[in-house]
Symmetry: D3
Subunit: 253 residues, 6 copies
């Protein structure tokens, strides 16, 4: 069930249904940022959306929120097309999403993340949200979980098997392959030089562009193909369904 293609009575009925995942919601979350010479700017929000929507098509009991498509990408701002929230803005926005979803009775809120650069801020936000309750000695009526799609059980290993060399850390062949599978009309080609991009620390935008001139970090995206992307999606879907089901079933102390 995709929230944005449902009516409110449909969501209402599901919430009251007592069905297995009826009080759990998955929020695809990512970033709109450069992904090297060929990667789509939307890669990081498209990947979790692709996987979550595929899972929902297979199992309608999964409730999927609209995609949170702009995250924390300040370090990519020297590349056109990148859109970033400041971490503080990102925190406020996530907080409001959680307040909205919890208000309706969602008790488990699962963020399926597509951008490593989001992790710190999302975790800080969870702490900010929990702190409101911790300071006043109350328990929140919801539990939050963050899962990067590549950390779904078995997925990272699969990606490394498919791309044993040049997987890298940004504009990876696996994420680009996932978008190629879903958007085959938008596959782009480039001569990468060097074939495998350099590694290094991530700081501000100009430092980033100086270190990583074409935007990639440690990756060789030329290895991506729609077929490999589909393989990754096919493995991610059951892993997501299992992971969400476990989260929904978790008994709280």
């Amino acid at each position: 069930m995709l929230i944005h293609l449902s009516s409110w009575p449909e969501i209402d009925a599901r919430l009251k249904s007592g069905a297995a995942l009826s009080k759990t919601v998955v929020v695809p979350i990512g970033s709109n940022e450069q992904h090297g010479p060929t990667g789509l700017l939307g890669t990081d929000w498209l990947c979790p959306e692709i996987i979550a929507h595929a899972a929902e098509r297979g199992d309608d009991s999964l409730i999927v929120a609209p995609t949170f498509n702009i995250g924390m990408a300040q370090h990519h701002l020297a590349f056109p097309g990148t859109i970033s929230l400041r971490p503080s803005t990102f925190m406020s926005a996530i907080t409001d999403w959680v307040s909205s979803l919890a208000r309706h009775g969602f008790e488990r809120i699962y963020f399926l993340n597509g951008h490593g650069g989001n992790v710190a801020t999302i975790e800080a936000t969870f702490a900010e949200i929990y702190a409101e309750w911790s300071f006043v000695e109350e328990r929140p009526p919801f539990v939050l979980k963050l899962r990067n799609w590549w950390d779904l059980p078995g997925v990272h290993r699969l990606c490394e098997e498919i791309f044993p060399v040049g997987h890298g850390a940004h504009a990876t062949p696996s994420e680009i392959a996932v978008t190629q599978a879903a958007y085959p009309d938008h596959i782009k080609i480039a001569d990468y030089s060097p074939k495998i991009a350099p590694m290094g620390p991530i700081r501000d935008a100009l430092d980033y562009r100086a270190r990583f001139p074409d935007g990639r970090i440690g990756s060789d995206p030329a290895q991506a193909s729609p077929e490999k992307g589909q393989t990754i999606i096919d493995a991610s879907v059951p892993a997501l369904l299992k992971d969400v089901a476990d989260f929904a079933a978790e008994v709280l102390p």
Copy 2:
């Protein structure tokens, strides 16, 4: 050109191309909120996205950003599936989008809005953004514009012609028709009672639900059809292209 399906070198090349609309970007912006018994929760962000993407398919010179899908919908929070930002969060997020896009050299930023409830906050945000420059006696390197899709030249009149009675103010047949045209597999049916929903002021969420029990304001969405929706889209596309072109061509004093 859809930013999220482009690579950064493609955006970079376009920005440097000197083409007519190369420094103008359209941001579809809306809200995820209840739209009565049958309207999609995503209606208000889907409509501007549908129209902007249709325009871009017809004229690739139009640059379209990812859709800003969550807006100011606090009054709809008593209906499940609604997700709202607080106005203050909304303002911070829009500000960061503008900072990002302006950083890349976009000089005209056009928000195509799908939610009347967003208007006040977006305008307040424009003032907040401009104020940073006004206080220090500098001119911003960009100009901002807000346009509701139904206020595109000719569109509102068309909607009233198609739906002379029961157009109303929320969950209107015109916006629902637009989503029906784009998402024909998600058309929903209900017995509306009363046929035309009541009118009234908009305040907090519980007040809203008490006044408008099924979520509609003044509308009779039963009149919507995919065909009527397509008619509206077909009229909106050239109106948008013309409006954006005028904005891009506007000479500043």
Copy 3:
């Protein structure tokens, strides 16, 4: 009853009196900003104050708060004497006024506004205030209303009758006439060139000054006179009393 010229026991007694308007308060709100070559910088806060105080003199049951005299005027900052809050500051301040007045038991808070540029931010603030309640499924113990003084029933039509040409949008002859009636010792004269000022969009302060070199938008303030101002005041007073009474008597769902 003017709050600032009353003692707390007087306000206390009134709040407990059960009288018709005893739980309703009118807050004159405006802006201190340039009003063309002859308009007073205080015009936008003086007008609602003049009207509200005149109404209170006629009907002591009206409770009038001190005047909120600085609003959102970033676009006028290129003209000396303008004082503006950022929209975010304006929102915080209005919120605190509302919290204070509601704390005392005022259940209807009516903002009589004198500045069009305030409208978006005031409405965004109402949403921000209501959101606190909407997120937690509670009803606020108060209702908020915004009314521009020129939108009081009958007033705008009267202004257009008196000034059928060159009323314009800023530094209008009607608002200047109102201040002339109240402050006859501070009437100023200038040669306006052009007689009727240009129209155009409102953006940042330097853009504004370039478009509207003497500060007026579309107006010919030379038509103003104290007598015309008094006529407008005389029409506004009963309209305000009626409007506030209706608001106070409104039954909530």
Copy 4:
């Protein structure tokens, strides 16, 4: 010169005139809060306004801004009619006033304060404003000064001479006398019990009301009279003019 009764060209001309006080502005600032059984709720913003306007009438070279009428009065909120900003809001608002006035070229901004409870927050605000410059190794183009009207040279001593007993700390006979002189039609009478109110610490609103049941702290306002108030005003006016002139003439290192 009262800014709100001037036009922008008048302010502009004065700023460019090179006259003695042409780049100095006085901002009357106070609070709207309970002042015991008989004191006006507006006492703390009326007093500095009364004194500043009287000074301006005597010497038009004094430029006086509109009155900042709502300050930090959280401790008085248990008494109806009190309106308070949170300190953080107060700080933002003062900051915006300063930004606006400095933008026009005012180099010396003098706050004439009427509320002891404002002092800490105003001083914290000055530090917040200066900090923006201190962190980046630049000098601000303006200097800020806070002066309580009763601390104008000679005034406090005069008040103590007139009211040697029962002057107290809140709802003092001196401030009430000042308002009686200016608003003789709004003088109120009560039987004070006890004659001199108790002293004690200031904390939250309910604590305050429990300690000071009628709102006064240490004062016997029955001693106030319009004549005594006029005496205080007459002494304050030259003291203010001298103090502002000294501030304007101060040579910076």
Copy 5:
């Protein structure tokens, strides 16, 4: 009992013990800022820590929190080693400390302050904290108190007796003597010129450095000695214990 050298069960037991000071906590608070040619940068947080820890060694019933070591020192930023919070940050941090301590059941929170420049912001913070309760007509479950160590009963007089000339306002011989007593290995020597530093107003950092080239205000720190410092500490300890005991024993209305 020093919190940071205790375990949570020890704090828990004390809080539940019913002992005299078991619900009172002392927070040493200061600033890290220049203190003239010879003063330690840590002087202002070391002094209250030294006195509070000495008191705790003498009377274990005193509960002492970790030292809040960075305060409001924007005016000292032109001198290397100074670390300052903006007042707004300082306010947020103090608020969180109070929320944490109050959450555990501390009902009296006593800030022993070592920096005059902190006073306004700490007081504004108290008002900010209390305001949350005042707006909603509730009493906070805690009481806050600010005490500068030199204002402990008898201490200021003692300092003036020891240093009748050249005590001054910043980098005073008394505070430097206190640190000399505690950190005799870090005593520094300089030729002061002039012997007694000038006095003047405190504004931004560059203004400060221009007025007070070596950082001192009105002081002659050459008079400091470890012995004099010990004398001051010895007088401060019983004064602190008495002051805290009085605060803990204060009956609320």
Copy 6:
């Protein structure tokens, strides 16, 4: 060189000296939070302070700032003595520390962290700080680095060798041993039950206390001893000096 025990001329001279580490500063940063039945509440800020001060004693070229002793510990708030900042406050405070240190010319700012729960917020803060520069296409004049003391090269392996079983994730024997070595008079003893604490997710404070009743996560602190702590310190000191030297020497692109 400990900043707080230095004078500003000493810091000034060092900054201008051109010495190897003269523009690099180490900030010990941690948290004040429960550490199980026997761990000191200050453990997480004492450990980095202990190691950094030990390093500074061995090599005076190391410049060490005062310890940032309160961090993000909302999940520990159900245990008395814990003091936590909200993540948003923590971010503001770190930002101000960085602004202060960078203002003086420190070009490399190294945070030696003692609390895993701080990591996400510190990293989010770095992004917040960098974003200010990234949005405006400028490079910051400083570089930031976060290092947990147990992640210093070789240290984590050593800890695991010393405590191959029951090292756990909170209240670990290694951190407790470090504090025992430094504060042997404050070693506490308890019967742990179970010997090794459970593992689990970290959420809000009440959830935490329900999962981890005595506060430990996965650890057996009974294994700690002052001797083992000294071993860890002795290994950490050269690792820190090497790590800081590498950071200081890093050539930026």
